[in-house]
Amino acid sequence: MAMELDVFVGNTTIMDEEVYQLWLDGYTVSDAVKVRMEGGVMEECEASADVLLSDTMDQYRTFQMCERLLYSPAKLANQLLFQIPPHRQAILIERYYAFDDAFVREVLGKKLSKGTKKDLDDISAKTNVTLKSCRRQFDNFKRVFKVVEELKGPLVENIRQHFLLSDKLARDYAAIVFFANNRFETGKRKLQYLTFQDFAFCAGQLINNWTVGAVGEQIPTDHQRSFRFYMDVDLDKEFLQELKELKILITDKDLLDQHKSLVCTALRGKTKAFNEMEANFKNLSRGLVNIAAKLTNTKDVRDFFIDLVEKFIEPCRSDRWTAADMKLYLTHYTNSAHILDTFKHQVVWDRYMGVIKSCIFKMFHD
């Protein structure tokens, strides 16, 4: 029976989680009805297709009306229009801000601009995520980005407070924001094997160690730039400057040799790949230190991950290192630098290598 008008409104807003997911996934009403029919919900309550259609329409309308509130989730808790039990509010928000890894992988590090939005149909075709869902996810990224971009304080905490997200989701968003802000290149073919979670982990490392917020610096030195200095969406510029000092490790021949012998002594007999490590030491060390030295250039910051892969991970992989080899090598590589008596930049070195180590571990897939 086709209705001219058909509404059902509960004092407590009724929401079916399954339908919500279908809505989020961008299904049309008729597609959603099909999916639900196949799911066997009809037998559950002797319902007919009409009933299912009417119910789906109702729920879709409810979600559409709620969507406006979900843009700023804090409003959901003190709005008066819908009476939604708090635990359901939490589900609504969490699900609304959830995203598909396949989709986020495509836009990670891209500028969250109109241009990117125009490409969403290609992404949709590629990832098999509906365009509607892509738009929602993209808009979510953009919205979160806009809100936290200019906020002081820790990024993850800001996201969690403003969007009432779970810790895990807030961290993921922090990663997305961080990547978008620094425009890290993630789309190159060589990086295709990396998952969003790999990048999210790396982002977490960078945020926690390489930003201004990470050092706990609270008083801005420069008033005009204080706005930016408080935040941990940007890398710590002073730190990046200091990284140039590390160049001495490869430019000073003595230091380089000394470093190599220290590492080789420690590694000898502990790994099958020792010979390759010894042979490649200078190359690898140059690679890592050069990455550090170049980070003052925005362009090179963008290529940070591709550089890691090209300069370090790929050579190691071609030498058939195992993950354990990698761990062993990097541990000794880092620690040995402390023993070098002429090397004065221990603090910067640790801050740099700590992040590099965990990123490489994460990015080195066996």
């Binding site: 058909d6 807003t13 309550c45 003190n78």
Partner: protein, 1059 residues
């Protein structure tokens, strides 16, 4: 100057962006009461302004306090152009005028705009200082409490029930004033909202005055309705039951003085001593001797109250009964042609007069009906009663009248507020056919019907209208009953007849079923048997009522919702022709609805209907009839017979085979339904169903067994038996009942009937449904509650539809709605849909609109099978007595039964008060305070209680009227999107007002009106919604220690609730 109203504007939040340039708003607030306006400062460039204003003080009459709402308007300041309105909040301050209700209004209110809907929220604080001057109650009636609840509210006891109060006020509809052509839709909507708010306030005040006059302090079962009569105006009318209520916690002694009526009257064999018509003049005397304060009519000549019992009602005798009102039942009501009675065709008029008169004569009640003073209608809007109140129930009485609307003449509007009070008939004297007189006629009719059933009162009384263009159907219905007069103010009831009746110690579990009328002089043919419960008195075979099932009633199995649905096409016509056509259709519709109800009742093997509500709606080219009721098997009544199918042409073998198959299906369905509803009547008293059925068969065959080729003839047959006049038809159509047993298969209508009988979908397992407060057979509610409103509009696409086709569509529409509910609420299983209230309308020529409001409540499956056991009788009894809402002495004459009853109740309440596992329930309460939300959870229910909770305070009545309009229908998601958000907004505003009063729930919530109009071509739509209810504070039963008072109160709540 007896009142000072103070208001403070604290803050706003989530305001809309009014300045596109800055994406911000420069908001300020105007606070208006009466003609005084205050303004706050402008809070520049903020969507969350903090005004924190001073206290704005209004010094006003309490009369104004009652009539006027506080009007809060939020505006955007604009330096160069006019300030833009963001929206408004109307705050009804009535709850603050009663010291027992709320003391302050404080909270966030949605800012509402009739074009844009809710636009942000505003925090307002309102207080009232009343300078109490007790002798000043002349124009105002501050302090009278109003309740929508149709039972004695929890936490009160009724010291006395005074009786019926009614009032109506009329005005021109702003939408139809000339000025509407030049003002914006917003201005027009706001004018309307404001006017209706004013009129409701005025109406409530006037009703309050009447109550004070009667010596009462409260109105229970307050039912207020709007009639949007279009060009001819706007009517706001209300009825209610005046009571004197004592707050239970105060522990005050019951007002016993009024109950000293001697109960030592000789106890004759009550039920067998009939109330003869000859006795009725006693009533008149009684009335005259009554000491009730109000009646300005007391001085009426006594002579008028005793015309010969069976004299036909002539205009002269009528006029003598009421000096001012022309109460003529016959000629004027004939066609109800408004002020144009003179234009009526002569012959038609005479015909109508004759019909009416014969009808009245047949009934033999006309004379006595007119004896009563017009004002003294022994009507009660209550649907459930304290134990011992209801003595016998006669059956449903109803009356309908078709009227032609004409412009309302209302000379007294505006300046002289109390025109009705001073001489309530002064207006009607000028213009005899005003709405007052119309209702007066209907009420008279109802009263005489009740008399015919040997009853002196009408309970579960309600009134309604259906308007289409200039034709209006006025309907009233109720249940004829005999009440225990000791609860009543003297003179309010016809005590003469009943004095001896209630002495009869008939057990409460069946007493109300015993016939109140004379066995030898029955008002309609019915089958009487001795009561299956007590075996002492006669009971009818079927009982229809508009009230809730009395809690003490003995019921077998469970109940269920039974609906009869009907569509009838009608030619398009204008004016009187149209009215005549409608009048002619009405009796047929009532008859068919009745037949359907009876068949469906039998199909479910049940024998009684409660909460019967028959709605007939007019459209331009059709009439819709919808009867809803809750069927039950009353143990006291005989088992219903089956349904027999009879063929017209015997000997036709194929036909006979067909009949046999159908018969088998019917029998199977009955057997299946018996199982579903667990109807296993005690064998002890049950007659052999075969025999019972057989006798019925014979009887019916005499009546309708003869071939009736056309539906038309069949109807005519009924008509000749019918007592109903053309425009006012009575619902006790039981004379037509017998053919309900036999369905003529060759009759196309009958085929349709059978079809619809068998196609009524069964309820999915885990669900129950009823339209009464509580489902008979379910006693252990858990706390999860989901109130909902659903609206569907169906557009008839096929231009040339038949009646059958329409019926099918209409039936499917209702059935699909129910199915949809079951599906949506499946997560609440096991659950019961209670108080399913269907409202049908024909908003436009090809549209059928059905609106439903109901509540789904979960229950504990394990205990549904039987009523709670009767274990700790003594304990329960004592505790109950202590806290009974009614003074114990009132029930003294039936103490034994009362003991039984109360024990039952208290046990069940004890069980219920045990902690309920909240895990499965969707209860909001269980998750309250979660996440630090600042919004109070407000539960809503159309019932008078919330399961698992105890109402500790009534904060006042909620009565709100909203208009929403859009000129961008498509952008708002079409008609569904538009209405969906509007209903959600209405809920939100109700909740906000309740929360601001300090409440956490609305009980007895109802959506009185939902008028939806659309013009998709212009991308426009408009909707009007009127809702009402009682704001309350309730606490969890388990939050309290199980002290006796707690149990007592839950008892009483159960008493009311279970009905």
């Amino acid at each position: 100057m007896p009142g000072k109203l103070k208001a403070k504007i604290v803050a706003g939040r989530h305001l809309p962006v009014m300045d596109r340039a800055s994406d911000l708003t420069d908001a300020f607030v105007e606070v208006k009461f009466g003609n005084t306006t205050f303004k706050t400062d402008v809070c520049p460039k903020s969507l969350n302004p903090q005004w924190n204003s001073e206290w704005f003080k209004f010094e006003v009459d309490d009369e104004d306090l009652q009539d006027e709402p506080l009007q809060v308007t939020v505006l955007d300041h604009d330096t160069y152009s006019a300030n833009d309105a963001i929206g408004k909040v109307y705050i009804d301050i009535d709850p603050l005028l009663c010291n027992e209700a709320a003391s302050v209004i404080s909270g966030w209110f949605p800012i509402y705009d009739t074009i844009h809907g809710i636009r942000g929220e505003i925090n307002v604080l309102v207080k009232v200082e009343l300078f109490n001057d007790l002798n000043r109650f002349r124009q105002s009636s501050c302090g009278v409490k109003f309740f929508c609840t149709t039972s004695i509210p929890r936490c009160y006891r009724a010291a006395m029930v005074h009786g019926f109060v009614e009032e109506l006020v009329v005005n021109e509809d702003p939408e139809y004033q000339w000025i509407d052509r030049i003002r914006t839709p917003r201005a027009s909507n706001e004018a309307r909202q404001r006017l209706i708010s004013l009129m409701s306030g005025e109406l409530q005040r006037k009703i309050g005055l009447k109550v004070l006059e009667m010596g009462g302090n409260a109105v229970v079962g307050y039912l207020q309705c709007f009639d949007l009569e279009g060009e001819s105006g706007l009517v706001v009318r209300a009825i209610g039951t005046a009571c004197t209520l004592d707050k239970l916690s105060s522990g005050s002694a019951p007002n016993t003085a009024t109950h000293t009526h001697p109960n030592t009257a000789p106890a004759s064999n009550a039920c067998n001593s009939p109330s003869k018509d000859g006795k009725e003049p006693v009533f008149g005397e009684d009335l005259l001797s009554s000491s009730g304060p109000p009646t300005p009519f007391r001085a009426l000549p006594t002579s008028s109250s005793s015309p010969p019992p069976l004299s036909p009602s002539k205009p002269c005798s009528r006029q003598s009964s009421s000096s001012d009102t022309d109460l003529s039942l016959t000629p004027k009501t004939g066609m109800g042609s408004g002020g144009s009675a003179g234009k009526e065709a002569g012959p038609l008029k005479t015909l109508l007069r004759q019909q009416t008169q014969t009808a009245l004569e047949q009934r033999g009640a006309s004379s006595s009906g007119l004896l009563l003073n017009a004002r003294e209608f022994p009507f009660f809007t209550l649907t459930s009663f304290p134990p011992g109140f209801l003595v016998h129930v006669g059956g449903v009485v109803s009356a309908r009248s078709v009227k032609l609307l004409d412009r309302i003449h209302n000379p007294a509007l505006g300046n002289t507020r109390s025109y009705k009070l001073l001489d309530w008939n002064s207006v009607t004297a000028d213009e005899p056919e005003t709405r007052d007189a119309w209702w007066e006629e209907i009420r008279q009719e109802i009263k005489s019907h009740a008399k015919a059933l040997g009853c002196h009162a009408v309970v579960g009384y309600s009134e309604s209208t259906s308007i289409c263009e200039e034709v209006c159907i006025l309907s009233a219905s109720g249940t004829a009953a005999i009440l225990n007069p000791r609860y009543m103010r003297e003179g309010c009831l016809d005590i003469g007849i009943v004095d001896h009746r209630f002495e009869d110690p008939s057990p409460p579990s069946c007493g109300f079923c015993h016939i109140p009328y004379d066995e030898l002089n029955m008002p309609f043919p019915t089958q009487l048997t001795y009561c299956y419960h007590c075996r002492r008195q006669k009971v009818p075979d079927v009982l229809f009522t508009t009230i809730d099932l009395p809690p003490e009633a003995a019921v077998t199995g469970k109940g269920c919702l039974i609906q009869a649905r009907l569509c009838r096409l009608k030619k398009k016509a204008q004016g009187e022709v149209n009215a005549t056509a409608i009048s002619n259709l009405l009796p047929f519709m009532e008859y068919e609805l009745h037949t359907q109800l009876m068949n469906k009742l039998k199909l479910r093997s049940m024998n009684a209907l409660f909460g019967l509500r028959i709605q007939i709606s007019i459209g331009e080219n059709m009439l819709l009839g919808l009867a809803s009721a809750t069927g039950v098997y009353l143990t006291a009544l005989p088992a219903p017979g089956g349904i027999q199918i009879a063929g017209k042409t015997p000997g036709d073998l194929s036909n006979e085979h067909h009949i046999l198959t159908i018969q088998k299906r019917i029998n199977d369905t009955i057997a299946k339904n018996k199982e579903i509803y667990q109807i296993n009547p005690p064998k002890l008293f049950a007659l052999d169903p075969e025999v019972f059925c057989g006798t019925n068969m014979e009887l019916t065959e005499e009546v309708v067994g003869s071939p009736i080729p056309e539906p038309r003839q069949r109807s005519r047959l009924f008509r000749s038996h019918s007592e109903s006049s053309d425009e006012v038809s009575e619902l006790d159509l039981s004379h037509g009942k017998k053919d309900a047993f036999v369905l003529e298969i060759d009759d196309t209508d009958a085929v349709e009937d059978i079809h619809s009988l068998l196609t009524d979908a069964t309820i999915p397992t885990g669900f129950n449904s009823c339209n009464t407060e509580i489902m008979p057979g379910i006693y252990n509610w858990t706390s999860a509650v989901q109130m909902f409103t659903s609206v569907r509009v169906f557009r008839l696409s096929n231009a040339n539809l038949t009646n059958q086709g329409l019926n099918k569509i209409f039936t499917d529409l209702c059935e699909n709605l129910l199915k949809s509910f079951y599906f949506k609420l499946r997560s609440m299983i096991p659950c019961c849909l209670c108080h399913l209230n269907f409202t049908v309308a024909v908003p436009e020529e090809e549209l059928i609109q059905v609106a439903v409001t109901a509540v789904a409540m979960t229950y504990d499956k394990d205990q549904t099978q039987e009523k709670p056991a009767e274990k700790p009788i003594t304990k329960g009894c004592i505790e109950t007595e202590e806290q009974l809402q009614f003074p114990m002495e009132l029930c003294a004459d039936s103490s034994s039964t009362n003991t039984q009853l109360s024990s039952k109740i208290s046990v069940s309440s004890l069980e219920r008060s045990s902690p309920v596992p909240d895990g499965r329930s969707r209860s909001l309460r269980s998750t309250r305070g979660f996440g630090g939300s600042s919004v109070t959870v407000v539960k809503m229910t159309p019932l008078s209680f919330l399961p698992g909770t105890r109402i500790i305070k009534y904060l006042g009545i909620i009565n709100m009227f909203f208009i929403r309009e859009t000129t961008s229908l498509r952008e708002e998601g079409g008609v569904s999107g538009f209405l969906h958000s509007f209903i959600a907004e209405v809920f939100a505003m109700v909740r906000a007002h309740v929360a601001a009063l300090g409440g956490n729930a609305v009980v007895s919530y109802s959506m009185k009106e939902c008028v939806f109009m659309e013009n998709p071509n212009k991308n426009q739509a408009q909707c009007l919604i009127n809702v009402s209810g009682d704001a309350v504070i309730c606490v969890r039963e388990t939050d309290q220690e199980p002290v006796p008072s707690n149990i007592g109160q839950t008892c009483t709540s159960e008493t009311d609730g279970a009905t």
